[in-house]
Amino acid sequence: MMLLAAFDFDWHAFFFMFFALLTCGFALAVLFTSNIVRMAFYLILSLGASAGLFFLAGAEFVGAMQLMIYVGGTLVLLIFGVMLTAQSRFVTMKTSSGEWVMALVLGGALLFLLLTAAFRVGDWRTGHPNPANVGLAESKTTTQIGMGFTGVRVDKLDAPEGSTLVSGMSGYLLPFVIVSVHLLVVLVGAAYMARTKRRASSAGVGA
């Protein structure tokens, strides 16, 4: 009977707590380690666990993107940078007390802001809903996200025919294009900066 009762368990809440604890725990580990590479590794685990939270909430696309962009992309570069620029093998970071105070003030302010915002959500204060009635968000298709980027207001599809949208809020096409052009410029600039420089003498001959 014990075994059977165990399967009535609220697994959703269990996994939420599990991933949330992992995220917070490794975030704290980032804070309290002085070894940079370990820090980066804990950051990977923390971000990976938050991707788990996204998967749990049914936002598979966001979860996969979190893994791909932050865990698979940004942090590789971070580790790369640390490993290539480190002067000695196992780099440790000494944090001065001034930096601690600064970080506490900044972090505390952000935490306060987030907590007040979070506890304003009404659902938090009402009773615990029956898990059987809670429908997970369905995001089995990424079509809507793609449509949104090409300028379709997917949230206004039910709007009556002929109703005009507020000017300047007609979709995400313009921001999307601006961001992509911006990224392209950054990439071209980075490639230009990183290319091999010719020596002065050979440049004189070659040019």
């Binding site: 059977l4 399967f7 070894n35 590479v37 370990r38 590794f41 990977i44 990976g48 991707a51 598979e60 696309f61 979860g63 996969a64 993107m65 893994l67 791909m68 865990v71 698979g72 992309g73 942090l75 590789v76 580790i79 790369f80 490993m83 290539l84 093998r89 196992f90 995001s139 089995k140 298709t141 990424t142 290319r195 091999t196 010719r198 020596r199 050979s202």
Partner: protein
């Protein structure tokens, strides 16, 4: 009461993990036999059932060396669990674990067949992927494969050894560089299917009977080569190349931790074969045998699993054959190949597929034989792009030293 759905998922997990581990062990044996065959040796053919250990008068059974994987595994596990004194202990232990976890997690969204029809004790068809209905399966595979690089980087860094560190640096550069052509090769498939769901990608090929390897040859070549590089197999095994780096990132590892690295490597190869087969060779589809309906009967369902496994086996055999027939790239060739050959080819493929797909959509069914014409056009683009790149690609294909060039000229071309 245990919900049957949870039970089914647990069974699937057990089958996948158990199957993969066994497969990895036996692929090691296959690889060794294959190496022996290529090099005109006999290979490991002795370990079978050691019956003489039980009774002196019995003879040992050799069984073609089928006991070798078990012997290898036992050897690895019983070896001294040695951790050198100069390593970063925590990351040294975590690196092989993380690479194996990422490699295994990939298989959660990869289907191992089509669906099983309802029968026995379940009342709706069973999807053959562990995490069925992950609509963004392709993205998840991608995301997890980009995590694999951490095991290598951290393992190499934590080893505190020059060879390991070099291996880790090479590997990170290689894996990041080849992720781009990998993605570009897949983009054409996603464009033609309109879905990131692996099931739908296979179904799209099964319905038309045109595997994407035929309709998108350029994308297939780009993906195939990039998949070799991502799996770090020869000719792309620069992260470990035994002759230069003595094993690279796993030089300092021994015992069970080394085993984790090696198993993860084989899992990468198996995952790459799965992706190659599912994206470009129709997955479980084979003409006239498997049918293409969404809810097959038992015969078709089992045939589909058999077809998929056979295809994957063939691709893995090809992986192994390549390993023993191709010399390793130099690092500059590797990078030039990624950025100057694979990337342009991938972009050309993407544009060509977009145009061809658009023409196909606009013509609809009005032109007879449009599928064949599109495939021919795609092959034309493939050959043209290949010729152009092979004339334009500098210092990529030849192994000769260019003594006439200033070192800085060579450098600026790399």
């Amino acid at each position: 009461m245990i919900e049957p759905q949870i039970l089914i998922i647990l069974v699937k997990v057990v089958i996948v993990i158990g199957g993969l581990m066994t497969a990895a062990a036996y692929f090691v044996l296959l690889e060794r036999r294959m190496a022996a065959w290529v090099q005109d040796r006999v290979g490991p053919n002795r370990v079978g059932a050691p019956l003489s250990q039980l009774n002196k008068s019995w003879k040992d059974l050799r069984l073609f060396g089928l006991g070798q994987p078990a012997a290898d595994g036992v050897k690895f596990i019983l070896k001294e669990e040695y951790t050198p004194a100069h390593v970063d202990k925590r990351l040294f232990v975590l690196a092989p674990i993380s690479i194996l976890v990422a490699a295994l997690a990939t298989f959660a969204v990869i289907p191992f067949g089509s669906v099983l029809p309802n029968g026995l004790f379940w009342d709706e068809p069973i999807d053959m992927a562990v995490s069925s209905g992950a609509g963004v399966g392709m993205l998840v595979v991608f995301a997890l494969s980009s995590i694999a690089v951490y095991g290598v980087i951290l393992g190499g860094w934590a080893s505190n050894n020059k060879y390991s560190f070099l291996g880790a640096l090479r590997s990170s550069a290689q894996l990041i560089a080849y992720e781009l052509p990998l993605g570009l090769g897949i983009l054409g498939v996603i464009l033609a299917t309109g879905s990131l769901d692996l099931d739908k990608i296979i179904a799209a090929q099964a319905e038309t009977g045109w595997w994407f390897a035929f309709t998108q040859p350029l994308g297939f070549f780009v993906f195939f080569v990039a998949a070799f590089a991502e799996a770090a197999r020869l000719p792309f095994d620069l992260p470990e190349c035994e002759q230069e780096l003595i094993g690279g990132y796993h030089t300092e590892y021994a015992g069970i931790k080394l085993l984790l690295f090696l198993v993860a490597e084989f899992l990468h190869m198996i995952a790459a074969s799965f992706l190659i087969v599912m994206l470009f060779f129709g997955g479980w589809h084979f003409w006239f045998i498997t049918g293409s309906e969404a809810n097959p009967g038992w015969v078709h369902a089992i045939l589909r699993i058999a077809v998929l496994m056979t295809k994957i086996f063939v691709v893995i055999l090809f992986f192994m054959l390549v390993r023993w027939s191709w010399p390793r790239f130099r690092f500059d060739q590797l990078m030039a190949f990624a950025w100057k050959v694979m990337l342009p080819l991938g972009l050309i493929n993407f544009v060509a597929i977009a145009v061809i797909d658009q023409v196909k959509t606009m013509s609809g069914d009005s032109i007879p034989g449009i599928d064949l014409m599109c495939a021919v056009a795609a092959w034309g683009v493939c050959i043209a792009a290949w010729v152009v790149i092979s004339f334009a690609g500098p210092l990529v294909a030849d192994n000769l030293p260019r003594l006439d060039l200033d070192p800085f000229d060579v450098d600026s071309q790399i």
